[in-house]
């Protein structure tokens, strides 16, 4: 008797859960999004500022974010090959988009861009950057730029001004060295590709964005004189000890912290380091400064090299592409920009054309909001440069990371480095792996 009751109860429960599941699936259409590694508090921000408000505003949809760790790009590639990836495809950058679009794994977004108003809301250069064979496949989640952080308190105490030319930068660096201050707070112990931040800086600010554009389009070789001058300049800085004695031992965050403590004077790095400003500057009673990186003679100042860390696309196999497009649309709203940048700076600088309507919390560093507004204006006016990790194809990009170390450590000459760079780039260009390069106006 007892056994029968137990079986009946069990069957009842199974039936109820099946009915519940059917009812649930009829009511809500699932949308999946795989996200990269994120600290617990940042995961919570995504739950409270994306998942919860989106699901509340869209009763027919059920968005879930799955945190897949630091190997997301590899997991995605396998999943996309087998057609079992998420609806919202979060790629590691434009060079991945080209390959995925080429393989037919992504859905063209042109119709969504037209119907949801993305073309009007998003900076045009980023719309162009997400295109492959004339169709839009991706939108950048965030964009970043490179510049010069400095310790304003230290500068004021020494009567130093933020440099605007390469000559001023070198004079300043020598003055810092004379006072036993490391000129560049820099390190790559946790992230070797940090090397390419410096290569990107000299390619834009010494060789100039016009030459860089021509090289990216294949109109001039990478062995051209402006690039020789750029790499030689970077090598000179290394040999002069501007990067300090511990570049290969410090993590990026440790190096940035040294700028706050005054052990280092400047940090030529990206806007993502705004995240570290409140963590280190206030406790050292130091005020941070940020300016565009100094330019060489004949190159405009400032040049903001554009970088994109990751992009949004929709899987070609998605069963709910409309829902996925609504999620992307939500991320590109003024409200989301304001809410997310209030709690998590430097990671969600979505490329909105007009930031004047965005409300960011009062506790956010004014330097950050001013920098981002200035950057948006510069890009809107087509005054921008190119970061290597966004605009170069994969093998050329990874060659830069190791190749520049070989130059610094005397294992390779600038000529040999650029010859190999040119050879690798041409090979990848012939295979169609160079990301879309927007026309330079």
């Amino acid at each position: 008797m007892k056994r029968r009751t137990f079986v009946q109860a069990g069957l009842g429960l199974v039936t109820m859960s099946l009915m519940g599941g059917t009812a649930f699936s009829q009511e809500k259409k699932p949308i999946s999004w795989w996200y990269e590694t994120a600290a617990p508090e940042n995961q919570e921000f995504l739950r409270t500022l994306v998942v919860a408000p989106f699901n509340e505003a869209h009763p027919d949809e059920q968005l879930t974010i799955d945190f897949r760790g630091s190997e997301l790009d590899k997991q995605l590639r396998v999943a996309m090959l087998s057609g079992s990836g998420p609806d919202v495809v979060y790629t590691a950058g434009p060079s991945y988009v080209a390959s995925m679009a080429q393989a037919g794994q992504l859905l063209p977004l042109d119709e969504f861009a037209a119907s949801l108003g993305w073309n009007e809301r998003i900076l045009p250069v980023f719309i162009e950057l997400g295109k492959y064979n004339g169709k839009l496949y991706a939108l950048p989640k965030t964009y970043e730029t490179l510049g010069l952080f400095f310790n304003k308190t230290l500068f004021d105490a020494n009567g130093w001004a933020a440099p605007k030319t390469i000559a001023e930068l070198e004079t300043l660096a020598d003055a810092m060295k004379a006072k036993n201050i490391v000129p560049f707070g820099a390190g790559n112990a946790d992230w070797r590709p940090a090397n390419e931040h410096y290569v990107s800086l000299v390619l834009n600010s010494v060789a100039g964005p016009d030459n860089l554009y021509k090289a990216l389009k294949g109109e001039i070789p990478w062995t051209s004189e402006p690039f020789v001058a750029a790499i030689d300049t970077l090598n000179k800085w290394w040999q002069n000890g501007y990067f300090g004695p511990n570049y290969f031992s410090l993590t990026g965050e440790q190096a940035f912290a040294q700028v706050a403590t005054g052990q280092a004077g400047m940090a030529p790095t990206g806007t993502w380091n705004f995240t570290n400003v409140p963590r280190y500057f206030p406790q050292n009673n130091a005020e941070p400064g940020f300016v565009g990186f100094p330019s060489a003679e004949g190159v405009d100042y400032p040049i903001y090299a554009l970088g994109i860390g990751s992009t949004f696309s929709i899987a070609a196999t998605s069963k709910n592409p409309e829902g996925a497009a609504e999620v992307i649309d939500y991320v590109f709203s003024d409200k989301f920009y304001g809410d997310m940048n209030t709690v998590w700076q430097g990671e969600w600088n979505t490329p909105l054309k007009d930031l004047s309507k965005v409300q960011v919390g009062a506790e956010v560093l004014p330097l950050y909001t001013e920098t981002m507004k200035g950057l948006a204006d510069a890009v809107n006016a087509n005054q921008y440069g190119y970061t290597t990790w966004t605009f170069l194809p994969p093998a050329t990009d990874t060659y830069i990371v190791s190749g520049i170390e070989e130059i610094w450590l005397g294992k390779l000459t600038t000529a040999d480095f650029l010859a190999k760079l040119d050879e690798t780039f041409k090979q990848e260009q012939s295979e169609g792996k160079v990301p879309a390069i927007p026309e330079r106006v």
């Binding site: 590639r77 995925m100 511990n246 031992s249 990009d397």
Partner: protein, 281 residues
């Protein structure tokens, strides 16, 4: 009927080892970015590797690594195991101490050495620098980076060999040891004529496995230096990983993996030969 018992292991081997292995062999002859359709490339990937100086320096680093691991941890393991055999007091304690690094996750061991020992900011080396000692983080110099990584792996690894050798030494007949003692054999004579011959099969097996493992080394190198600075600690497995997942050149990565497997195959051949010789004896 009893052969049916082989089916589960055969099925697992087929799915997890044979199929990926065959696919890797096939991909070594294709140009493939891991996303779009592969294109047949003949021996192009192998030719590209032969002309790549980084491949040769990675191969050299693997050979240096193998030489280090064939000598240092085996010598340390043998010495410590013999000590444990001869001096029973505190034996269990020392076994635990020696073995402890083996059970700590590789990533944690690597990060501890990187941050708490080698780092000039947060580590022991930083403290020594502040005390005026001229020590430099070995991971930051091209001449010492490989040895810096090998030191971490040695610390993690030698205890395992020690415990294995100690277990083998305990199987050496006690009469032989006693007889040698009565004959007045010194410590080194005991090692040379009694203990080492007694555990020779174990030492041979560990040496062969060391060759195989040395060509598979990846984790410590990847976490500590990612092959740098300037490729100075690059080994074949990190090179294959970089080619597959950063350069999106899966074909060349597969070709590199085949070279790794080649060395593993040679070592496996010797292992099987030794095993069969022992079987005959």
């Amino acid at each position: 009927m009893h052969r049916l018992y082989l089916v589960p292991t055969l099925a697992i081997n087929f799915v997890i080892i044979l199929v990926p292995a065959l696919l890797t062999i096939a991909l070594a002859f294709f140009r493939w970015d891991g996303i779009s359709a592969p294109v047949f490339n003949g021996l192009g990937n192998f030719q590209a590797l032969a002309g790549d100086r980084v491949f040769w320096s990675a191969l050299t680093n693997n050979l240096i690594w193998t030489a280090i691991f064939l000598v240092v941890p085996i010598a340390m393991g043998l010495l410590a195991a013999t000590m444990l055999l001869i001096a029973p007091r505190g034996r269990t304690f020392f076994q635990v101490v020696y073995f402890l690094p083996v059970i700590i996750a590789t990533a944690i061991t690597a990060r501890v050495w990187q941050g708490m020992i080698y780092s000039p900011v947060t580590g022991l080396f930083g403290l020594m620098q502040k005390s005026g000692l001229p020590v430099v983080n070995p991971l930051s110099l091209p001449t010492t980076a490989l040895f810096g990584v090998a030191t971490v792996d040695l610390w993690h690894w030698w205890g395992f060999l020690c415990v294995i050798f100690f277990a083998a030494l305990r199987q050496v007949p006690q009469e032989q040891i006693e007889a040698a003692r009565i004959e007045g054999a010194t410590f080194w004579q005991m090692m040379r004529y009694v203990l080492l011959p007694g555990i020779r099969p174990t030492i041979t097996l560990m040496m062969i496995m060391t060759v195989i493992w040395s060509f598979l080394v990846f984790d410590f190198v990847y976490i500590l230096t990612q092959g740098g600075p300037a490729f100075s600690s690059e080994v074949l497995s990190t090179l294959a990983y970089r080619k597959a997942f950063y350069d999106l050149n899966v074909g060349q990565a597969a070709a590199t993996a085949l070279v790794i497997s080649l060395f593993g195959l040679v070592a496996t051949y010797f292992y099987i030969r030794v095993q069969s010789q022992e079987g005959e004896q």
